[in-house]
C-alpha cells in the first residue's frame, strides 16, 4: 500500500465520520463544527489532488466564511436543539434509509457497469497550476465570471431587502 493511499483512506474515514456525526448530533452547533472538520478534510484532499488554489478557497470560503455565517445564525436564533433525527417518525426513518440504499446502489451499479469515462482517466496527466486556472478563468470563462459578480450583487441586495422590510413594518406598526 502506497503512502498516498494510506493518507487518502485516513482522510476519507475522517470525512465520512464527521459527516455522520454532523447528521446525528442533536446540537446544531456541534453539527456545524463537524461540518467544518468535513470541509477541512476535503480541502486537504484537494491538496493531494494538486489543486492548491481550490484547496485554499475551500478552507477560507467554505470552512471559514460560510460556516461562520451558519454558526452566527444558529446562535442568533438560539436554534441549537431543534429537530434531531430521533424526533422524526419511524416511517420517515425507514423511507430515508431505503432511498439512501437505492441511491448508493445506483452509484455503485453505474460505476461498475456504466460508461462513466473512468477508464479514460490517466494517472500521469499534466498538473494544473493556479496560473493555468487563472488564465482559463479570465480567457475562456470571462463572461460566466462577470455573471457571477452580478449574482453575488443580486444576493447581497436580496439579503439587505429581506432584512430591512421588517424594520419598516416595526415603524409602521
Amino acid at each position: 500500500m502506497s503512502g498516498e493511499l494510506v493518507i487518502f483512506i485516513i482522510l476519507a474515514l475522517i470525512a465520512i465520520t464527521s459527516a455522520i456525526f454532523m447528521l446525528l448530533s442533536t446540537n446544531a452547533v456541534h453539527s456545524a463544527l463537524w461540518l467544518v472538520l468535513n470541509f477541512s478534510t476535503i480541502g486537504v484532499l484537494y491538496l493531494i489532488l494538486s489543486a492548491p488554489f481550490i484547496a485554499m478557497v475551500q478552507i477560507t470560503v467554505y470552512a471559514g466564511a460560510i460556516m461562520v455565517l451558519f454558526l452566527f445564525v444558529i446562535m442568533l436564533l438560539g436554534a441549537e436543539h431543534l429537530g434531531g433525527v430521533g424526533q422524526s417518525q419511524r416511517w420517515r426513518l425507514f423511507l430515508a434509509g431505503f432511498l439512501a440504499t437505492v441511491l448508493i446502489s445506483v452509484f455503485g451499479i453505474v460505476m461498475i457497469e456504466g460508461q462513466t469515462g473512468l477508464d479514460t482517466a490517466v494517472a500521469n496527466a499534466p498538473e494544473i497550476t493556479p496560473q493555468l486556472l487563472g488564465l482559463r478563468l479570465f480567457e475562456a470563462y470571462v463572461f460566466p465570471f462577470e455573471v457571477t459578480g452580478i449574482l453575488l450583487l443580486t444576493a447581497m441586495i436580496g439579503v439587505v431587502i429581506l432584512n430591512t422590510r421588517r424594520k419598516e413594518e416595526n415603524k409602521n406598526g
Binding site: 476535503i42 478557497v57 445564525v73 439512501a100 462513466t116 490517466v122
Partner: protein
Amino acid sequence: MVSIEMYVALSAILFTIGALGVLLRRNAIIVFMSIEMMLNSANLLFVAFSRYHGDVDGQVLVFFVITVAAAEVAVGLALIVTIFRSKKSINIDEINLMKG
C-alpha cells in the same frame, strides 16, 4: 496515485449522507448544511476528474459552484432568519405554507 474509483466512492458516500440529512433532519439550518455537503461532494468529484484528465475546466467549475453556494447560503440564511422572526420556528414541518 490513488485510483479515481476511490474518489468516486467517497463522493457518493458523502452525497448520500447529505441526502439523508435533507430527508431526516427537521431543523432548516441542518438541512441547509446537508445541501452544502452534497455540493461539496460534487466539487470533490470535479477536482478529482480534472486532476485525472489534466483538464482545467473542472476546477473552473468548482470555483463557480463555490461562488453560487456562497450566494445561496447568504440568501437562504436571511430567509431562515426572516421566517424565524414571523413564525418563531425553523422546523420545516411547520413552515409548509406559502402564506405568511
